[in-house]
């Protein structure tokens, strides 16, 4: 086969391969919308993080604004320190409320940020002061049963009178 | 007149694993001659060429090419020596993925910085000398056996080597191609002033073109001499070989137990 033909085909092949990589990076992946270089770090202390994982999304008003980058357990306070990277474009007030939420009944868990009214904004490395832990289903059910039981006990006591 | 010896082989021993192939071979090959090495199949002729080319190392003794002991050379020195020698393999060993032209040009492109126009001229000259200038665009698969052998010959003389080794150059050729190759070997050797070593078992073709003949049998040199001496030789081995007789010093039967034992005849009688 002629040299020029081979060169042409190989050129097309390499271009197709690089094109496929770009499609994967931009269209399929999140390289187009999110970049680690332009982000800042926040930490939050949670009593219980439930099923939260590294790389779980951080959302505010349903919009993904960042990702969880690290989760550490502290042996001093016996709670979890969650580090997250937030896109530079989004700034949050100092009294922002962070809670661990679940998308849908069985969906993945994420951190929801609810902005407060403070004038000052959170800076890189700051700690979010107001946090709300994950709802753990077993605890909820346990609580519910306990409440029911104590209610009925109350009513039985009432009936004695 | 002193003739310089290009190749000198002294007390050469070689064995594969523990099976001896060559046992104390001595040879001298003067510059500018065509030397034939003959012998039955599997007698170590090809091994001898590999030893000269340095692809295998002798168990003892040495091969000297141009006053250098081949197996003592470093890899780089060996490669430098190999640029001055070449080998024609039994079936040509043309590179099947390259055209005839590129096959002949291969060494020029690998070893020299010649511009493409010069390479083109050289390649066409080499192909012309084997009569295949018109075939330079063909692929090796499109050539007949004789043509492939000629292209391989052109490739082996591409860099004007001082020594060319031919491994069975006549095997599997029709009589016409056979004498064409034979004549080419003689003519190119004389024209380019190179030395040729032809390993073959084709007696008549080679006796017609060579200057000196070595016969190898069972790893030792059974006889040697000029073609005239060999023709008249009374040595039983040479006689058997030259006149292609079925039985003689080289037996027809491979060593075996007696026929009767193998067929269990003795037992059945008993």
């Amino acid at each position: 086969m002629q040299r020029a033909t081979i060169d042409l085909w190989v050129g097309l092949f390499v271009m197709a391969g690089i094109g496929a990589l770009l499609i994967l990076a931009l269209k399929v992946g999140n390289l187009g919308t999110y970049s680690e270089a332009q982000s800042y770090t926040l930490t939050g202390i949670f009593e219980n993080i439930g099923g939260l994982k590294v790389r779980s999304p951080v959302k505010s008003a349903g919009v993904v604004v960042g990702r969880v980058t690290d989760i550490q357990f502290s042996t001093k306070t016996f709670d979890a320190a969650v580090t997250m990277k937030i896109d530079k474009r989004y700034a949050f007030p100092k009294d922002t409320f962070a809670s661990i939420l679940t998308s849908g009944l069985l969906g993945e868990q994420y951190i929801g940020l609810a902005a407060g009214g403070d004038e000052g904004m959170l800076k890189s490395g700051d700690k979010i002061m107001k946090t709300n832990s994950a709802l753990v289903l077993e605890e909820m059910i346990g609580q519910f049963l306990f409440d029911k039981a104590s209610e009925s006990e109350d009513s039985e006591d009432d009936s004695k009178f | 007149m002193t003739i310089e010896n290009l190749v000198e082989i002294k007390d050469l021993n070689f064995s594969y694993d523990k099976r001896p192939v060559l046992k104390g071979v001595n040879m001298t090959m003067p510059r500018g001659k065509v030397i034939a090495i003959m012998g039955g199949s599997g007698c170590g002729k090809t091994t001898l060429l590999r030893l000269i080319g340095g692809s295998v190392t002798p168990s003892s003794g040495y091969v000297k090419v141009a006053n250098q002991v081949v197996h003592e050379l470093s890899r780089n020195e060996l490669f430098r020596l190999r640029r001055k020698m070449s080998m024609l393999f039994q079936f040509g060993a043309l590179f099947t993925d390259l055209s005839v032209f590129d096959n002949v040009a291969f060494q020029m492109r690998e070893h020299t910085d010649l511009p493409e126009s010069v390479i083109r001229d050289l390649v066409l000259m080499k192909l012309h000398s084997v009569g295949l200038r018109g075939a330079h665009n063909l692929m090796p698969g499109e050539l007949s056996g004789g043509m492939a052998r000629r292209v391989a010959l052109a490739r082996s003389i591409a860099l004007d080597p001082m020594l060319v080794m031919y491994d069975e150059p006549f095997a599997g050729l029709d009589p016409i191609s056979l004498s064409v190759i034979g004549n080419l070997i003689r003519r190119l050797t004389d024209a380019l002033g190179m030395t040729s070593i032809v390993v073959t078992h084709d007696v008549h073709q080679s006796l017609a073109i060579v200057d000196y003949v070595y016969f190898i049998s069972e790893g030792v040199i059974a006889a040697h001499g000029t073609p005239e001496e060999v023709e008249k030789s009374v040595s039983p081995f040479v006689h058997q070989f030259v006149h292609s007789e079925v039985d003689g010093p080289v037996p027809f039967h491979f060593p075996a137990d007696t026929y009767a034992t193998d067929l269990n005849l003795e037992n059945s009688v008993a």
Partner: protein, 265 residues
């Protein structure tokens, strides 16, 4: 009876020693290939020629299989996900399966059986017809001239082929889920984008394909170079290339996956 056991144990020992010896020989060959790659990288046209044979000629099977694997994933994923009312996640399912696992692994398996076997057969045949020895006699190192360009061409083509495979697969999933079934196009892509991470999923996938590319081509060139110079020898070496590289791909995939995606949701 004890004699039989001794023979059996001896057989095992013999095999183990043989295989270790072969592994060492292969490693030495691999290192030699790397050391002698200089000239083939300087003469890039040699690699381009081999890129045609390993890359371009493998393209068609990669494109077709990628498309069909993606379409099947789309169909099956939809069937399962719609039971939970999560059919918009079908894009995520297709993309994650392809980018993390199926793209690298299936593309590498196809590459091994299409390009790897061809490399082994070609080098084995060159050895059987004395072309490699002839090259050595011409003072040209066959490892530098024959093996290294094929090796690098394989290493370059593998990631590109795997990327094309994944992209085609995602397109196949899109065809089935969005065009044929009618999943909402916007949520198909946006769900995919919100879950597939560039650093964790795509870069890890590319690293996998690079490792597979090195492994498959190294096995292919070694088997070719080591083949017995006969017809059976070459066919046996070709079979070994496909079998060994398939097993190595799956094994390496397991190891790499357990390192890359451990504890990551």
């Amino acid at each position: 009876m004890p004699r039989r056991i001794v023979i059996g144990i001896r057989g095992i020992g013999h095999r183990v020693i043989d295989n270790i010896w072969r592994l060492g020989y292969a490693t030495r060959f691999f290192i030699l290939t790397l050391l002698k790659s200089g000239s083939s990288i300087r003469r890039f046209s040699l690699i381009i020629r081999e890129l045609y044979f390993t890359g371009v000629l493998t393209l068609i099977i990669i494109v077709v299989s990628g498309l069909f694997v993606g379409m099947v994933l789309g169909l099956q994923g939809y069937e399962t996900l719609q039971k939970y009312g999560a059919e918009t996640s079908v894009g995520t399912l297709v993309a994650l399966s392809l980018v993390r696992e199926l793209g690298p692994v299936v593309a590498a398996l196809l590459f091994a059986s299409r390009a790897g076997s061809a490399i082994t057969a070609e080098i084995g045949l060159m050895k059987a017809t004395e072309q490699l020895e002839a090259m050595g006699m011409m003072a040209v190192d066959p490892i530098a001239r024959v093996v290294a360009p094929r090796f690098w061409a394989g290493v370059i083509s593998m990631p590109l082929l795997a990327a094309i495979f994944s992209a085609m697969g995602i397109f196949g999933g899109y065809l089935i889920a969005v065009v044929l079934i009618g999943v909402d196009e916007g949520s198909f892509w946006s769900q995919m984008q919100s879950v597939v991470d560039f650093r964790f999923d795509i870069v890890n996938g590319i690293i996998k394909t690079c490792v597979f590319g090195v492994a498959v081509t190294a096995i292919a060139v070694f088997e070719g170079f080591d083949a017995q110079p006969t017809a059976e020898g070459v066919s046996g070496a070709t079979t070994r290339t496909v079998v060994t590289s398939s097993l190595v791909i799956l094994g390496l995939d397991f190891i790499l996956t357990s390192f890359m995606f451990r504890g990551v949701g």
